[in-house]
């Protein structure tokens, strides 16, 4: 297929349709409203469904209901909207429904601002709703990668019967880039007959499926949680994705960065290289499961003195880097947030300062 020039938000909407997801519920919020605006036009053309919910709280449960019927369904929102879905996300994870969420992050906390940010890392990867659950979290660094991750998100969500979160920053949603949609996208939907409440007529079965999250018997609830834990372990074993940059030489520091920020880091690494300073990057493409081993191995190289987490937030991934490097090298942080995006020059400068022990 030929490349087309598209805004990230629109490309995400188109990618979902091409991945066979014809159901979309959403509520307006900047900077992701273009997804709804695009799909309001596009869904009727492909026989799909779009409903603007009355609130993000309601949208969360619309997704839950639709997914519990075994239908592919997704939503897009931005930071405060995801907070409002927290309760529903916990329910959806508990009930093992394969909903795909896209968070085009804006500056926070609170009302914050409408410019790009990566400040919902902890919310998506660690916390968010109540209880023990994990989202499979993917962080695209380009419009092209956003399209690919949306495509894959539905497959992974169904493989694990688990919600998947695409964590994009405002730039991913707002910028235009050339994008190529995958040829074969509509992967065969997984067999849902064992769990989805599709109606007896449809399934031609005597078995009555029940989608629930209430387990009043504590032993049963403990077992349910242990089963979920096993599932998350399996994700950790099988679904870690990351890319590397400039890892061949004797680098002095490992940068960990994801999403749009990682592109700035690449340029900074090139700039440093010209000055004779070798620095490499591990870019997590999945934030959960996290590429712990890759980062640990990277810092084990003898020349490496430092790991630096570079994020468009106040240092949320730092703790995962600390866990990963286990004290082998010190872990530093550099970043800005709320729409302020560090320039390659500032980033290179920050790395140099750390390497010179100035900070």
């Amino acid at each position: 297929m030929a490349k087309v020039l598209m805004k990230g938000n629109e490309a995400i909407g188109e990618a979902a349709i091409r991945a066979g997801c014809l159901n979309y519920f959403a509520y307006p919020i900047t900077p992701q409203s273009e997804v709804a605006e695009y799909l309001a036009k596009r869904m009727p053309e492909v026989g799909g469904m779009f409903l603007q919910g009355e609130s993000e709280v309601a949208v969360g449960y619309m997704l839950f209901g639709a997914s519990a019927c075994g239908e592919r369904v997704f939503t897009t929102s931005s930071s405060p909207g995801i907070s409002l879905m927290s309760e529903a996300i916990s329910y959806i994870a508990a009930a093992q429904c394969p909903v795909v969420f896209v968070n085009i992050m804006r500056g926070g906390p609170g009302l914050g601002g409408i410019l790009p940010s990566q400040a919902d890392y902890s919310q998506s990867v660690k916390g968010g709703g109540h209880g023990d659950y994990k989202l499979l979290v993917m962080a695209p660094a380009s419009v092209q990668e956003a399209v690919e991750m949306v495509t894959e998100a539905f497959v992974l969500a169904e493989k694990y019967r688990n919600p998947v979160m695409i964590l994009g920053d405002g730039l991913i949603g707002q910028m235009m880039e050339p994008v190529e949609f995958p040829e074969k996208v509509a992967a065969k939907p997984s067999d849902k007959s064992e769990w989805a409440t599709t109606g007896m007529d449809t399934r031609k079965s005597d078995k009555r499926n029940l989608v629930k999250t209430l387990f009043l018997d504590p032993e049963e609830l403990n077992r349910h949680n242990l089963m979920l834990k096993e599932k998350y372990k399996k994700m950790e074993a099988e679904e870690v994705r990351y890319s590397t940059y400039n890892t061949d030489g004797d680098y002095k520091a490992v940068i960990a960065s994801y999403g749009t920020m990682s592109r700035v880091c690449k340029t900074a690494i090139d700039m440093l290289k010209k000055e004779g300073i070798e620095v490499c990057m591990i870019r997590p493409q999945t934030l959960f499961p996290f590429p712990e081993v890759a980062i640990r191995k990277a810092v084990e190289k003898k020349s490496c003195k430092l790991a630096i987490s570079i994020e468009m937030n106040m240092g949320q991934m730092v703790e995962d880097i600390q866990r990963s490097v286990s004290g082998i090298v010190p872990v530093k942080w550099y970043g800005k947030c709320g729409g302020e995006i560090p320039t390659p020059e500032e980033t290179a400068e920050a790395v140099k300062k750390y390497l010179n022990n100035e900070e």
Binding site: N23, A88, K212
Partner: protein, 211 residues
């Protein structure tokens, strides 16, 4: 807690496993969940079964918007003037001066307003098609309640409209009364305020007009 589930011609005998498939929504969110189901599977029959706190307090926005969009599912609202499952707290439907665990001196209408009449409120919207308030306090009322519920499901199966059947009921445990006393209290106190009757029946009106 609100429950949303898919109803076949008759429910299963198994009390906890409805068929052909059942889902539970969070407190208040059953209408949103039912919307999600109906939008992707309009062929399935869906109803929500909700109590006072669930529907009239935390779920106010969801029921109003679902009703106003004309989602083609059925809501059965059991109004017994108190939170049941969480242990008898004051609900938006609690009567003036009624004592509950969170209104130990009685509901003070000067402080928290008058009880909300859900059927009346939903009838103030343009879209919803069928809204009736019934009760099951005595056998004479039960026949009407059954008819109302049946009509609500028929309208759904005919893909006509959103239907809402309020059922005024008792809660002896949380009212701290015997079942008999609670029936008397409900008849004396609830029924005069929560007037029974059909608040809206658009399909019937349209049928009449068509003739």
């Amino acid at each position: 807690m609100g429950k949303t589930f898919l109803k076949p011609n008759s429910l299963s005998d198994n009390h906890t496993h409805y068929c052909p498939g059942c889902k539970e929504a969070a407190h208040g969110r059953a209408p949103a969940m039912a919307t999600g189901i109906k939008r992707v599977r309009p062929d399935l029959n869906v109803f929500t079964y909700q109590g006072d706190g669930d529907l009239a307090s935390i779920g106010m926005s969801e029921i109003i918007h679902s009703a106003n969009r004309g989602e083609k599912f059925t809501t059965i609202f059991v109004n017994n003037a108190v939170y049941g499952m969480t242990g008898g707290q004051m609900a938006p439907t609690t009567m003036p001066n009624q004592k509950t665990t969170t209104s130990p001196f009685g509901r003070d209408v000067k402080d928290v307003g008058m009880p909300i009449k859900m059927a009346n409120l939903l009838a103030a919207l343009q879209t919803p098609g069928y809204i009736e308030r019934t009760t099951v306090l005595k056998p004479k009322y039960i026949v009407k309640a059954k008819k109302a519920i049946k009509k609500a499901f028929i309208y759904q199966m005919e893909k006509k409209c959103f239907s809402f059947v309020e059922v005024v009921s008792t809660c002896p445990t949380n009212w701290g009364m015997t079942p008999q006393d609670s029936i008397k209290w409900a008849e004396d106190t609830l029924l005069p305020y929560y007037e029974l009757g059909v608040f809206k029946d658009t399909p019937k009106m349209e049928e009449k007009n068509a003739k």
